[in-house]
């Protein structure tokens, strides 16, 4: 047993601190708003130029001038503000965004992150991922622990082109939660039904505890 996508998103939602500004990446992170704990208010940033991102619109009310960073139609909230891309990345680069929750292809034990390019395959680009990991206060990665061939995505060192070096603080995978610490990764939590031995067996990176 292990966490499914929704359970990973629910666990990631526990990372959210009341009163902070947060950026959510594409994929599992987009499920996180469904699980924000009661009493916690966070403002979601969409890096194409919006703070206070609301839910998807009801059919028939879509607005082509109102999209998120994944180009999906969204809605605004009473506290929404809009701004241009230079201002948007100014607040990212300037450290005003407390946390980013992102997907990943590989994470290394020193916090290196690879999530934008697989050489030899179609290359789409890094979008805002490099700016986010370099600028935000805390980077939480949400991803499957292994790839479809069963190989670990939590590595001693990344094999794919990097998005950033030493940028990841915490990994939430289908098998559990690990923190990047001095000397490697520290197991913080096991997913429901996952044993310590199973998590270690699925992890290539050095585990320090």
């Amino acid at each position: 047993m292990a966490w499914d996508r929704n359970q990973m998103a629910a666990r990631a939602a526990l990372e959210l601190q009341d009163g902070t500004y947060v950026n959510l990446g594409i994929g599992i992170p987009t499920l996180v708003p469904n699980f924000i704990p009661e009493g916690v208010h966070v403002t979601l940033q969409s890096e194409n130029g919006m703070l206070g991102m609301g839910p998807f619109p009801i059919a028939g009310t879509e607005d082509p001038d109102l999209i998120n960073a994944g180009k999906q139609t969204i809605t605004e909230l009473p506290d929404t503000s809009y701004f241009d891309s230079a201002t948007s990345f100014g607040m990212i680069r300037g450290g005003k965004i407390a946390m980013a929750i992102l997907g990943a292809m590989e994470v290394a034990e020193n916090g290196d992150l690879a999530n934008w390019m697989i050489p030899g395959k179609l290359v789409k680009g890094m979008g805002g991922a490099m700016d986010l990991v370099a600028g935000v206060g805390r980077v939480v990665v949400v991803m499957d622990h292994t790839n479809k061939h069963g190989e670990s995505k939590v590595l001693k060192s990344c094999t794919l082109p990097l998005t950033g070096t030493g940028v990841v603080n915490r990994i939430i995978s289908n098998l559990g939660v690990l923190d990047v610490v001095e000397g490697g990764l520290k197991i913080v939590e096991l997913a429901e039904g996952v044993t310590d031995a199973e998590l270690r067996a699925a992890t290539e990176a050095t585990i320090v505890n």
Binding site: S46, E47, N48, G49, M50, P55, F56, P57, I58, A59, E62, D63, P64, D65, L66, I67, N68, G70, K71, Q72, T73, I74, E76, Y82, F83, D84, S85, A86, S88, F89, G90, I92, R93, D112, L122, V123, K124, G125, M126, G127, G128, A129, M130, D131, A134, G135, P161, L162, T163, G164, T165, G166
Partner: protein, 231 residues
């Protein structure tokens, strides 16, 4: 001084030449200067370099200039959703310079502000940093990125007065202000042109000093990922 032109083609008259660098506003298909892009296609100008976050889709946005092989190089952060782009890139017909999205926006803003270079942490230790000057400030490493000084800017706003004072709508603002700022000449298309005094001066997003030519038109405003929830 008249900034208002009758059509996108007239607004671009005398400004286009082969091999030029054009900065374009828009994010995905949101807030793109769709009328000006169509007029650039119709002009036949070629070997263009575009500084633009995205490259449109196959039949809309900058994609229409890829179909006609008028683009030589793209400076972008994300170019998915465009099969013709990938074909031309993989066959070597099209040059691509990936820029992190915030670095691209700041390069435009910096160029518009007369700043030839700036240091950023974004991309340090990645492919993006290769060949760039590295410098330490307060114990952290940064790389030098250069301002973009474009020959021409093409942008889209919601409303402008006849002097070019412009207002954008929701997330369609995106790259339009920094793209407008970094060009020697900026041509703006809008949904509505109004008389001076009709826009609240306190609510202008881009002052008319950055806008040299204006054209009003009807926009398709295509949605790339229509996503809805249950009522």
């Amino acid at each position: 001084m008249n900034k208002v032109y009758g059509s996108a083609a007239e607004a671009l008259d005398g400004l286009l030449r082969d091999d030029m660098l054009i900065a374009a506003g828009g994010f995905g298909l949101c807030g793109i200067p769709e009328l000006l892009l169509a007029a650039i296609r119709d002009s036949g100008v070629k070997d263009l370099t575009f500084a633009s976050n995205n490259a449109g889709v196959d039949d809309f946005g900058i994609g229409i200039l890829l179909q006609t092989r008028q683009v030589r190089k793209m400076m972008s952060s994300y170019v998915g959703e465009n099969a013709e782009f990938m074909r031309q890139y993989l066959s070597g017909e099209l040059e691509l310079e990936f820029n992190p999205q915030g670095t691209l926006a700041e390069r435009m803003r910096a160029g518009g502000c007369g700043i030839p270079g700036f240091y950023t942490k974004t991309g340090v230790g990645t492919q993006v940093a290769e060949g760039k000057e590295h410098k330490d400030f307060n114990g952290e490493t940064y790389i030098l990125e250069r301002g973009i000084f474009a020959d021409l800017s093409i942008v889209k706003a919601w409303k402008a007065d006849t002097t070019g004072n412009a207002i954008f709508r929701k997330t369609a603002r995106n790259f339009n202000p920094p793209a407008a700022m970094c060009g020697k000449v900026c041509v703006m298309e809008v949904e509505e042109i109004v008389q001076p005094g009709e826009l609240d001066p306190d609510k202008i997003h881009l002052p008319g000093i950055y806008v040299h030519r204006l054209v009003q038109g009807t926009h398709e405003k295509r949605i790339e990922q229509r996503t809805v929830r249950a009522a």
